[in-house]
């Protein structure tokens, strides 16, 4: 790192997307070449271009150290904090060597690189009641909560509201009403907080909303976009898990039914049975699900695809009516795994954010059997507590650590 700090200033060319909606002119690209040391940030480059060449470039910034979340932009097509992206890294990721800077997506542009966070991001944050509704009666002194519960929610508390995840949310791209990753991660901050009194109400609200937690398309965009490792999609999956498994919320968006049908079909067959999954997701998780009016309606609306698939021989009637299964003995093993795990009193979840990774080095081992695998320390004895990983004994990862380059 010290080496890169010693490198002398060098030229970097920026291609900045310019747009002033009030002017009535179409957006256009501007290029400026600035000189800075390679370890300096894209934000510093933009500010230099503004100071030296064009004072009208619109950029919002404040802290310049990845804390305030003001300078979210897209660098070479990817969401990033301008102040947290090194110029040399940005240049390397630019196909033609010119660092391309655009405003974030999914939000209207106010001017150049400044987007209207109020119109989208903050409105959605407000939507999830972003404050604690404390359990009653309020204790005379503080609420007492398990340490690991609070460590758990610090991951979502690390959010700096920069909007990078909102910018690139692929579900929001086609459904602007989707509550989105930042707000749903914020919702988990309270659903995961044992002091909050409204877990069911919050979850039910977000499950029943057609643009709520089940509208997430599981694309991992927000996971990579986040400069603070908040893992919004992971929080959304936990909202779903708690809503369906703990609160037994059956929503109107087929979220719970889809999960139950999928999980149930694998238990029954070991492999997915697509022809049953769709009707059961609409009509309920049983063989009779397909006869539910909701499933019938869905079947009718899908006829154009179904007819073509049958005509082309992609799907045969027998293939659709009969599941493919793994061998009987293996199916029995799979079912026994289901019974054992689902029969536990408490659902177990390994949260790497809380426990961190083991310190032993990762060694890639060929898959081949017969190869001596000798990378593990001696396994713990039979008395080792199986849930040791859950006790939060290790220090959590630093929630403010900007892991992964945002560029």
């Amino acid at each position: 790192m010290a080496e890169s700090h010693d490198r002398p200033p060098q030229p970097f060319t920026l291609r900045v997307r310019r747009y002033d909606p009030e002017s009535g002119d179409a957006p256009y690209w501007d290029e400026h070449t600035i000189e800075l040391e390679p370890h300096r940030s894209v934000l510093e480059a933009i500010l230099q271009a503004r100071d030296r060449f064009d004072g009208s470039i619109g950029i919002r910034c404040s802290c310049r150290q990845a804390i305030c979340g003001s300078c979210g932009v897209r660098v070479n097509g990817e969401p990033a904090l301008a102040c947290h992206t090194h110029l040399d890294a940005a240049k390397r990721s630019a196909p033609d060597g010119v660092i391309e800077i655009e405003p974030m997506g999914n939000m209207p542009v106010i001017k150049d690189l400044i987007v209207d966070m109020d119109a989208v991001h903050w409105k959605k944050i407000q939507r999830v009641t972003p404050w604690l509704i404390g359990k009653q009666p309020v204790p005379e002194r503080e609420y007492l909560v398990p340490r690991e519960s609070m460590v758990d929610v610090t991951q979502t508390m690390a959010c700096i509201q920069c909007g990078a995840c909102v910018s690139d949310c692929l579900a929001m791209e086609v459904d602007p009403l989707f509550i989105g990753p930042a707000a749903l991660a914020k919702a988990y901050r309270f659903v995961g907080d044992p002091r909050d009194d409204q877990h069911f109400e919050r979850l039910n609200d977000l499950a029943q909303d057609p643009h709520g937690m089940f509208d997430c398309t599981h694309c991992f965009k927000c996971v990579d976009a986040c400069p603070k490792d908040v893992n919004p999609m992971g929080q959304i999956m936990r909202l779903r898990r708690i809503a369906t498994a703990d609160h037994h919320i059956v929503d109107d968006n087929n979220g719970e039914r889809h999960e139950a049908a999928f999980t149930g079909l694998i238990r029954d067959n070991g492999l997915l049975w697509e022809a049953e999954l769709l009707p059961r997701s609409y009509g309920g998780n049983s063989w009779f699900g397909k006869f539910h009016p909701r499933a019938g309606k869905e079947l009718l609306s899908s006829l154009p695809s179904i007819v073509k698939a049958l005509l082309r021989g992609k799907v045969t009637p027998m293939g659709a009516l009969k599941p493919h299964r793994i061998p009987k003995q293996d199916l029995a093993s799979v079912r026994s795994i289901y019974d054992r795990i689902e029969g536990r009193e408490e659902r177990f979840e390994l949260n790497l954010y809380i426990v961190g990774e083991d310190e032993e080095p990762t060694t890639e081992v060929p898959v081949a059997a017969g190869v001596v695998v000798d990378v593990l320390p001696d396994p713990p004895g039979p008395d080792a507590a199986p849930a040791a990983a859950a006790d939060g004994g290790d220090e959590p990862a630093d929630p403010t650590s900007p892991e992964g380059s945002p560029s």
């Binding site: 991992f220 968006n253 999960e259 999928f262 999980t263 070991g270 082309r312 992609k314 795994i337 979840e349």
Partner: protein, 300 residues
Amino acid sequence: MKVAYWPGCVSRGFTPELHGSMAKVAPLLDIELVELDRACCTGAGVIAEHNQELADTLNARTFALAQQVQGAEMMMNICSTCQGAQSECQERLDASASYRERVNGTLAAEGLSYEKGLTNKNFLWLLVEEIGLDELRSRVTRPLTNLKVGPFYGCYIVRPRRRLGIDEEHPRDQYLHQVIDALGGTVIEYAGMRKCCGFPIITMNKEASLKQAGRHLGDAVDAEADCLVTPCPLCHLNLDLQQPLAEGVVGRELEMPVLHLPQLVGLALGLEPKELGMSRHVVRPTSVIDWTTSVVGAAA
């Protein structure tokens, strides 16, 4: 090379042409497939959403079965979604010895045990990293000259980057580009090539799901691609099987053929479209078949 081969569910269900074409292509690349026919579904992220330990244990069982295949160099899959779901479970299993111990405790009834450090690669990764682009190029007997191919990666094989080991040294999010190029085809870039096909929400928000598929297909049409290629059968379902419905949602005719990765490789290795199951697609890959015929005609 010998691999423990996980074909996934959909390649044996609604996209049988994927499993079939992989079986045809493997010998041409000297890949010996030992099918993990005792293994169960990866859960595609949905079982993990329901119960993380259940998904991790079911996948650890598959990994343990793979580790029993004598002489296999690694495990290979042909489904981006399987790769993503398995990588997620493996990340947790490999991160914690005590968790592995717990999961292996459940598998012990069957005499199975997962040892940390399995190598599990999608066919796409195996092509580039194990076989190598030069070797692949040398085996091409029918270069895809003038065939304009749009890559469609699928989310699970390009994100999250850290978990999937994507970095400057391993640009796995560029591999489809590299393979199309090595096969002699022309890469067509378009806006949606690394976006979501919409399949995961097809039952929850059908309109948004089909809008995603329709937009990407439309972008590829506008970029004048002859066809798309994908390493993910679930993407194939939304892009091909659901294309007639996606056309209705985006209000335009699309008619964009979508090939599975082994089909595209098979074409370049000299196999015929029919052998590769291309007659079973909902959208007839007419442009690709016409191209094949014209190449054969020209050669004659």
